[in-house]
């Protein structure tokens, strides 16, 4: 179906886009309808994608093809099912076992990830040479002063007055510059989203209607 030379899917897309953009004027039922539809569809999509891309190839199919060869897969399957036992009061305690395994695994991964990937790398990169030469020396001094003053700002075991207060205030300036950069990038991102929707409305929806 192509009313006015445009596929029906594009019409639905354009209608929902306008529903969402209508919130800029004020809250209204069209916006709430589109918002609820989006939330519901996202959940449905997630369930479908996990079933098709994870459960089927990594669990159901291996068990169906070679049950005894993949019998160990029954353990994660059982743990997954146990998570839902929390809705049955008499066996709700079983969900805690599955949750404990889940938390234990991810705490282990996160711990090493943060230590190895963040703290060590970033600390090493903060220990910079002050004899690098030229502009590099200046940048390294700024990095060193910035890290030191921001760390002092987050040091709460002593009152921020005197020298400590001044360094802490310098830390606030560094933080404000960082927030400013983030805010600038955020504006850029939001404008990109607006541009994406406007580009769709103009080039995919309106132009074919006008030219048909």
């Amino acid at each position: 179906m192509h009313p006015f030379g445009v596929p029906i899917g594009v019409w639905i897309n354009a209608f929902l886009t306008l529903c969402i953009l209508s919130f800029l004027y004020k809250d209204n039922p069209f916006f709430r309808f589109a918002e609820s539809l989006f939330a519901g569809m996202s959940l449905g999509y997630y369930i479908g994608i996990v079933t098709e891309n994870t459960l089927r190839p990594n669990l159901f199919r291996p068990l169906a093809q070679n049950f005894w060869g993949n019998v160990l897969l029954l353990i994660p399957m059982a743990l997954g099912i146990m998570l839902y036992f929390r809705y049955i009061p008499s066996v709700a305690w079983l969900a805690r076992i599955a949750l404990a395994v889940y938390i234990g695994y991810y705490v282990g991964v996160y711990l090493m990830q943060k230590l190895h990937g963040d703290i060590l790398f970033q600390s090493r990169d903060t220990i910079v040479s002050l004899r690098a030469g030229g502009v590099d020396t200046l940048w390294n001094i700024i990095v060193m002063v910035g890290v030191f003053s921001v760390l002092i700002y987050f040091y709460f075991s002593a009152e921020h007055k005197g020298a400590l207060g001044k360094v802490s205030k310098l830390g606030i300036y560094f933080l404000m510059i960082s927030f400013g950069a983030s805010f600038g990038y955020t504006i850029m991102a939001r404008i990109s989203l607006l541009m994406g929707r406007f580009s769709f409305l103009v080039n995919t929806w309106l132009r074919p209607i006008i030219s048909s």
Partner: protein, 289 residues
């Protein structure tokens, strides 16, 4: 005119002006210049050294909500890889739309080249669990993805037979919204030593500079600006890319065209910031009197 009224101008007037500013370049593109920066060149130059014996993994870690920023990035990087005949493995770690974005972009770009599925590129689809499949791919990609996005067994594909784990991959590129791009840098680069580059939404770009500076990433494409810089490098370097981006349909979707909108809207926002501050100080001055 009353300064108070000007200071508390209806926000919908600002929305309207931004909308007009955004619509003008979409209807009639201006073609403002784009200058590539070092973080973008980092990834471009790396890919420029790769060839048919090399393999790159692209992780689609974004959904439709980040499409306007990351789709042009995905298209430009895929085109660069396919022009250089680099083998490409596509995965998705982001649940809400990552795999759909991957299918869409691969369908769009792969038809522009003479490619064989399973040999030159493969779409392995989505895998749930975040860091778990990412770490497990360090041992065996096939074990994590026994089937591709359409359910075809991957052990029959020559690409998966040759590329066993991260040791056989030259660069991992994460096109990311949210935190997943960080995981590639602070988990996969840190623990497996594979080169990582991230193309991210502009909102999350500032935090990635720390990883870029520390050497955990070889390149960074921040938002639409990063995508436009990559397109510019590609167009300047490869005549076939110039031909592709010269087509009217592709030009409309390109990040370079999108940067016209960014520039005009930024001017409007800066004008309002100056206007708001001027009115604020004028009001304060008049109150002192």
């Amino acid at each position: 005119m009353d300064i108070q009224k000007l200071l508390y101008i209806d926000r919908r007037i600002i929305y309207l002006l931004v909308a007009i500013g955004a619509l003008i370049p979409i209807i009639r593109p201006i073609g403002l210049p784009v200058v590539p920066t070092a973080p973008v060149k980092g990834l471009f130059n790396k890919i420029d050294t790769l060839g048919p014996d090399d393999a790159v993994m692209i992780s689609f870690d974004y959904g439709p909500s980040s499409e306007p920023e990351l789709n042009p990035m995905a298209a430009a990087i895929l085109r660069h890889l396919f022009i250089r005949k680099v083998r490409v493995l596509v995965v998705a770690i982001f649940p809400l739309g990552g795999v759909s974005m991957a299918i869409q972009q691969l369908e769009r770009v792969s038809q522009e080249f003479d490619l064989q599925y399973g040999v030159d590129y493969v779409n392995l689809g989505y895998k749930d669990g975040g860091q778990a499949p990412m770490k497990a791919m360090g041992v065996s990609i096939h074990d994590v993805f026994p089937a591709d996005v359409d359910g075809r067994p991957t052990d029959e594909m020559s690409l998966i037979q040759q590329v066993v784990n991260y040791d056989d991959i030259d660069v991992v590129i994460s096109l990311a919204t949210g935190v997943i791009g960080e995981w590639w840098a602070n988990l996969i680069n840190a623990q497996f030593g594979v080169d990582v580059a991230v193309g991210c939404t502009a909102v999350s770009a500032p935090k990635y500079y720390a990883y870029l500076r520390s050497g955990q990433m070889i390149g960074l494409l921040g938002g639409l600006k990063g995508a436009s810089e990559y397109e510019k490098l590609l167009i300047d370097r490869y005549p076939e890319a110039r031909e592709l981006y010269g087509k009217p349909e592709e030009a409309k979707k390109s990040a370079i065209t999108g940067m016209d909108v960014q520039s005009i809207v930024h001017v409007i926002i800066i004008a309002f910031i100056i206007f708001g501050n001027t009115m604020y100080f004028a009001l304060r001055r008049s109150q002192r009197r």
